[in-house]
């Protein structure tokens, strides 16, 4: 096979990628050290526990042994976790740093197969563009898969973003440009581990191929917004996308809601969202603001039905106060008359107690 001339830009890029991957490996070694430290910490605490147990046993402190046995039980539960963490860290650090040649060949392959491998020297990003993607009849447009070379060395996080070049986002959420992309982040699902492995090994072509394989597929079990509801109506409260037939319109705030965020007024049966519903303090029923009324005696807000049935608590409070009022009537009659004269102002009906003959409440 004829040898191709070396592409200097790709070679420089391969060097940069290799440097970042070296940083990644070193940070992973640091994580192994931390995990070993945790194991040693547990071991030290176990040693101390063993000493205390022996002391209790030799001195016959049977009561003291019980909490120590519980502590041992806790250790028995914790040890597998710290050991697993350490092993995970070890496995993650076990990736051999790829050779410069391998990285270079992978870049060359990405350039050959994707055709538009682009390197932004200022931002240090490497990107390819997919063809226009259409899933189950929903046009989503082409996407740019952008790899941030500087972030390749980070042990955590995802060093790449997905940008919709001709965005056709879900109607319920502008940030969702693809069923598995939100705010430029891809939730790779089944491809997550393979993508991470490809990046850690500097297999740039595999990385782009895997991300493309996620973008060109649709998993109806776990999308940010399902394709069925891509052009649906967003719930004003939770943002969930609902089809035109399943939308609930709140008669108070006049917004659209999903079934979970809407309810109804127990008095007029009008559809009302949870935020617009009030609770009657007497019957505890949820009612719309239109079915609430003000008690003319005390100013409390309660539902019309309770008001009509004269169920306002002020009625009871008034009756409770009555014996005291009659007991003090003789001695305080003069002063009460005087006070009444002082307090009565035109239009001050709420503060003024009104005695209702026969229990019938005045209509508001």
């Amino acid at each position: 096979m004829k040898q191709r001339p070396v592409n200097r830009l790709l070679l420089r890029l391969a060097c940069r990628i290799q440097n970042e991957l070296l940083k990644l490996n070193l940070s992973r070694i640091e994580m192994v050290e931390r995990a070993i430290g945790e194991v040693l910490d547990v071991a030290a605490r176990l040693k101390a526990l063993k000493r205390r147990m022996a002391l209790c046993r030799m001195r016959g402190w049977i009561g003291g042994l019980t909490p120590l046995m519980e502590e041992a039980e806790q250790f028995a539960r914790d040890i597998p976790y710290v050991a697993t963490d350490m092993d995970r860290a070890r496995q993650a650090a076990a990736w051999a740093s790829p050779s410069l040649r391998d990285i270079y060949l992978d870049l060359e392959q990405a350039e050959d197969e994707f055709g538009d491998l682009a390197y932004d020297t200022k931002e240090q990003t490497l990107s390819v563009t997919t063809e226009a993607i259409e899933l189950e009849g929903v046009y989503l447009g082409p996407f740019e898969i952008r790899l941030d070379i500087r972030r390749l060395g980070e042990a955590r996080g995802t060093p790449y973003t997905i940008e919709a070049l001709d965005p056709h986002p879900a109607s319920s959420n502008e940030a969702v440009t693809h069923p598995h992309v939100s705010n430029g982040g891809l939730c790779a699902g089944d491809g997550g581990a393979a993508i991470q492995a490809a990046l850690a090994a500097g297999r740039i072509f595999d990385f782009f191929s895997l991300v493309q394989a996620v973008l060109t597929n649709y998993n109806p079990q776990s999308p940010y917004v399902s394709l069925d509801e891509w052009s649906g109506i967003a719930c004003h409260e939770c943002g969930y996308s609902v089809s035109q037939d399943d939308v609930y319109w709140c008669a108070v705030c006049e917004n659209d809601f999903c079934q979970d965020c809407s309810s109804y007024c127990s008095r007029c049966n009008e559809t009302v969202c949870h935020n617009c519903l009030e609770t009657c303090p007497v019957c505890d029923e949820s009612v719309c603001p239109g079915c609430l009324d003000t008690c003319p005696r005390c100013g409390r807000e309660l539902c019309r039905t309770c008001l009509e049935e004269d169920q306002c608590p002020c009625q009871e409070e008034e009756e409770d106060d009555e014996p005291d009022a009659s007991r003090n009537e003789g001695s305080q009659e003069g002063s009460r008359e005087g006070n009444q004269g002082e307090e009565r102002h035109p239009g001050q009906t709420v503060a003024e107690p009104v005695r209702i003959e026969g229990g019938a409440a005045p209509q508001a």
Binding site: Q109, S182, L186, N217, Q221
Partner: protein, 73 residues
């Protein structure tokens, strides 16, 4: 003989595996990814697409990458 096998289906591990002399790509694929359909996987040998009767050689680099992967949210 040994070939480097990069399995991008699942964990994305890379490892050297022992194969018999004269093993074709089709046989290798059937053994490594039993039950998978060839049209659902991108197979490359030394970064090049090859026919299914291509015979593997010592030190070959074989990658298998699924063309459809289920994302999530």
């Amino acid at each position: 003989m040994k070939v480097l096998f990069i399995n991008n289906d699942g964990g994305g591990f890379a490892d050297y595996v022992e194969v018999a002399e004269g093993t074709t790509v089709e046989q290798f694929f059937g053994k490594q990814l039993p039950g998978a359909q060839a049209e659902d996987v991108l197979i490359r040998v030394n970064r090049q697409p090859v026919p299914k009767d291509h015979v593997l050689r010592e030190g070959d680099r074989v990658t298998m990458t699924p063309v459809k992967i289920e994302g999530a949210a």
